[in-house]
């Protein structure tokens, strides 16, 4: 029940309430971006991936960190890892 799923922010549907349309594996839903807004307007998040739980985006996904965590296992041979 506490699962959050990655979703791509497609477009802002209600800027005053920070609501946006998102796509998660083909499922489109309206989500609340207010917890991940930061300084800028919600439009700045279009094209970003977020983690959504029961309709609320709780975190932005860092592509850099995602790649770093995979690279650790993709590039090194066994035994070289420290």
């Amino acid at each position: 029940m506490c699962l959050a799923v990655p979703a791509l922010v497609i477009s802002v549907t209600d800027p005053s309430r920070a609501l946006a349309l998102s796509d998660s594996g083909g499922i489109r839903r309206e989500i609340d971006l207010s917890c991940v807004l930061g300084e800028g307007p919600p439009e700045m998040l279009v094209g970003r991936w977020v983690l959504v739980h029961v309709g609320v985006a709780l975190a932005l996904i860092s592509d850099e960190e995602a790649r770093a965590s995979l690279a650790l296992w993709a590039e090194l041979d066994d035994g070289e890892r420290q």
């Binding site: 029940m1 506490c2 699962l3 959050a4 990655p6 791509l8 309430r17 998660s24 594996g25 839903r29 609340d32 207010s34 917890c35 991940v36 807004l37 991936w49 983690l51 739980h53 029961v54 309709g55 609320v56 709780l58 975190a59 932005l60 996904i61 860092s62 592509d63 960190e65 995602a66 770093a68 965590s69 995979l70 650790l72 296992w73 993709a74 066994d78 035994g79 890892r81």
Partner: protein, 375 residues
């Protein structure tokens, strides 16, 4: 899908399994396996779904923790929700899992079959929308969940207050992750060597609720994501700490979680809720300051006020029911005498069989099939 498929890459998984075996082989030998508790039900589900427990060396095993909000829901809360759903012109809304949890007189779905107003929603904002569309009904949202889920309910209540919606109410049973972990760690019979921390709770809380585990109990914690690569990497990180005799909180789920968590989400929680003096947990009893209730400015939205009788009915549990022992890591699900016989996902006797994140349902779904196929 991005951020899902690449974290299921079989080649990466294979490499990790080798590395885990190598690290485990370097641990000091002992008679019992090293026990790693996955705190979150989402982790339990992923471990069974992908068979990750079978990829671990014999000397390492998973113990399923109390982090499934559906599983720890006491019968009295379901009974209150059922009572509300039976009021005239009332619509009780909650998550799909919550409506299936058995109370003393059946679940919310049973109540709906008998004519009560019960509706499954995806989240609290949908319940709010129902309240707007049905001004003549009382729309009650049964709010359950840990810190991950609390922000959505807080945001819905802030909106309801702003809009002056008078027919929206919340029956609040939101809980906190730290108190049940403290309760488990203070149990002298339980021997957990390390913890896989709940990545999605940490999106909100950051690492703070887990700091006491290494500090006071000298056990390592790794905050983990939910895909096979995440969980195996976290196991490896825990074994590395054990190998080096270290105990600290590490973050594996770096692509989303951070030490600080989400301050905006926490601010919403702090505005709308306050700690309740004590909250009842299935399997763990009443734990002080372990749950949230509506803050004074939001009391008008408290659905408990609509209840005519608030005294909880003492739960009559089947003495054979093993829920409490499974929840506290003392017993594996199939050892429960009701497992797979009287208690199945189609007709659950205990909440651990309701949610797909419950340890019993996960065992039943992913291990019962194997058992049947061999017959």
């Amino acid at each position: 899908m991005k951020y899902v498929d690449e974290f299921r890459d079989p080649q990466v998984v294979q490499r990790m399994v080798c590395e885990i075996a190598a690290t485990a082989a370097r641990l000091p030998p002992r008679s019992q396996p090293w026990q790693l508790m996955e705190v979150c039900g989402g982790h339990t589900h992923a471990i069974f779904r992908f068979g990750l427990d079978r990829l671990l060396p014999d000397c390492v095993e998973f113990v399923h923790g109390p982090g499934c909000p559906v599983c720890v829901l006491p019968e009295s809360v379901i009974d209150q929700a059922v009572a509300l759903s039976q009021r005239p012109d009332t619509l009780l809304c909650s998550y799909g899992d919550a409506v299936r949890v058995p109370g003393t007189g059946g679940s919310l779905l049973d109540a709906r079959a008998d004519g009560a107003g019960v509706e499954v929603v995806y989240g609290p904002r949908d319940a709010l929308e129902l309240a707007r569309r049905r001004p003549a009904s009382d729309v009650v949202f049964l709010a359950i969940g840990f810190e991950t889920t609390a922000p959505a309910t807080a945001l819905a209540l802030q909106t309801a207050r702003r809009e002056g919606l008078r027919n929206f109410r919340v029956l609040c049973h939101l809980v906190l992750i730290e108190p049940p972990l403290r309760a488990l760690l203070s149990d002298p019979e339980l021997r957990i060597d390390g913890f896989l921390g709940p990545g999605h709770v940490s999106l909100v809380t950051g690492t703070r609720p887990f700091d006491f585990i290494p500090a006071e109990y000298r056990r390592p914690v790794v905050i983990s994501g939910f895909e096979p690569v995440d969980l195996l990497q976290s196991v490896w990180m825990l074994l590395r700490q054990l190998e080096q005799d270290e105990a600290r909180v590490e973050l594996q789920y770096r692509r989303a979680a951070s030490t600080a968590g989400n301050r905006t989400a926490r601010a919403a929680i702090d505005e709308v809720f306050e700690p309740a003096p004590a909250t009842e947990w299935r399997g763990l009893g009443a734990l002080p300051h372990s749950g949230l209730r509506l803050a004074p400015e939001y009391r008008a939205f408290d659905a408990a006020e609509l209840l005519t009788c608030t005294a909880p009915v003492p739960a009559e549990t089947d003495p054979r029911c093993g829920c409490a022992k499974v929840l506290s890591g003392h017993m594996k699900p199939p050892v429960c005498p009701l497992f797979g016989r009287e208690c199945t996902p189609a007709s659950p006797r205990g909440p651990l069989m309701v949610s797909s994140e419950g340890a019993c349902a996960a065992w039943y779904q992913y291990r019962q099939e194997t058992a049947d196929a061999r017959r």
